[in-house]
Amino acid sequence: MKYTSLTTRSLTIIAMLGALSAVLMLFEVPLPFAPAYMRVDFADLPALFAGFFLGPVSGTLVIIIKLLIKLIIKGTETAFVGEFMNLMCSVAFLLPASLIYKYFHTKEGAILGLCTATAAASVFAVFGNLYIALPMYVSLYGISMDLILQMAAAVNPLVHDMTSFLLFCILPFNLLKYTLISAFTYLLYKRTDTALRRLLDTGKQIETIK
């Protein structure tokens, strides 16, 4: 990989979106059917926006900045496990969407990208939880897996064992979360894109959509 520097303007845009992402992380909406520790936040929105507006690498940088700011402001409660999972899931969401949009630079491309990304990130979240997050939480807090399942079963009657927990709790939660974020990104991008292009008077430095 070659070391390339960003233009000053894309640098400030990524920084500002990273800050915005950290701010949006503070708005959290709990969902009715999942345990209380799973919450929807819109921190991925600026990252996806940067992914569409500037490209996949910039989007990833926004995610990294958001997490570093979170670490500096709030510290880590989970010995970096939560942050690591967040990074992996966000990247799994961002990359398919921004890559597809990069090569199919149309409205259909955007929708296709967002749908693929929603599916990819949800599936990734299931496996990430199964193999990384849950085992690490179990060893960190000393709480057994059965207890997590029981807690989940208390709020969601469909949960009986690990498979049903993943299928009826984690999968729908993530599907809903990423569908929401996708819908938001689409609406937001549609509404702000023209204004932003006029504002930034681009064409040369920043690659924007047609």
């Binding site: 500002m16 990273g18 503070l26 600026p46 940088l61 510290g75 000393g142 057994s144 702000t192």
Partner: protein, 267 residues
């Protein structure tokens, strides 16, 4: 609602810990986190707790601020303690309702909670004694070797600095936009989930536009001052490793060796 967030927990001072190089502090924090996870005997935990308490003493950060940093996790701690107390099987010393409290459970509960508290205290010590900008500088410096692999170390540090500077501004702006929308009769806190989510769009659109406008103005200001990336850029407060850093490394290594020694002997 959003105005009570302070950025970073930096507690200005001139203590030994404040004067340590931020790079040293980051590296040593990781060393201690590894210590906490690797050495899990009662004696090592006693030593680690003693060490942490003496670090807090040296940092001159008031104890109530350290306790405040544990506060958000109070419920998780209590919950973890109770769960471990009740769910581990072994020799019971008391029965409450259907739960049997065991010595093994008590031991593990204390253990897990102590581990969590130590982790939080040590990482808060870093943020209490190091300003966010010093931390950013240290990150840039530590990532330096990865520049060859394509890691944009300087750009990332510059973006972190900008982002940290603008988080309070954007929070204020969000607050202002929300108030403006509220005064025009919009409602964010009642109604169905869908309704509440939908009501966020009129906040997000102006927020994004204004973030982009600020970014554009900032880029203009930076270029007017001849910003041209990280190559050949100097710092006003350059990081420097001094004697206390060597002492800190030495002491921490000695401490880690003691723990290894204890583990080998099997205490």
């Amino acid at each position: 609602m959003l105005t009570d967030i302070t950025i970073g927990q930096y507690f200005p001072g001139a203590s030994l810990l404040h004067r340590l190089d931020p790079r040293t502090k980051i590296i040593l924090l990781f060393l201690f986190i590894i210590d906490i996870f690797v050495f899990d005997t009662p004696l090592s935990y006693g030593l680690l707790s003693l060490f942490t308490v003496s670090l807090i003493y040296f940092s001159q950060v008031p104890m109530r601020m350290m306790i405040k940093s544990i506060k958000p996790l109070w419920w998780i701690l209590l919950f973890t303690f109770l769960i471990n107390l009740c769910s581990v099987s072994g020799e019971a010393f008391a029965h409450i309702w259907i739960f049997a409290l065991t010595w093994e459970g008590l031991r593990q509960a204390v253990f897990i909670c102590l581990r969590l508290i130590l982790l939080i205290l040590l990482s808060s010590l870093l943020t209490f004694t190091t300003s966010p900008l010093a931390l950013t500088d240290a990150l840039e410096n530590l990532m330096g070797p990865f520049k060859r692999l394509g890691m944009p170390a300087h750009e990332l540090a510059m973006m972190m600095t900008i982002a940290l500077r603008f988080v309070p501004t954007l929070i204020e702006e969000t607050d202002k936009i929300m108030k403006a929308q509220k005064s025009r009769g919009s409602d964010f806190s009642s109604g169905s989930l869908l309704h509440r989510v939908k009501s966020l769009i009129p906040i997000l659109v102006p927020l994004f536009i204004s973030a982009f406008r600020r970014a554009d103005e900032l880029a203009m200001a930076m270029e007017a001052r001849c910003y041209r990336g990280g190559v050949g850029r100097t710092q006003m407060k350059a990081l420097r490793i001094t004697t206390i850093d060597y002492v800190a490394y030495g002491a921490s290594l000695l401490f880690a060796c003691t723990l290894v020694g204890l583990k080998v002997i099997g205490i």
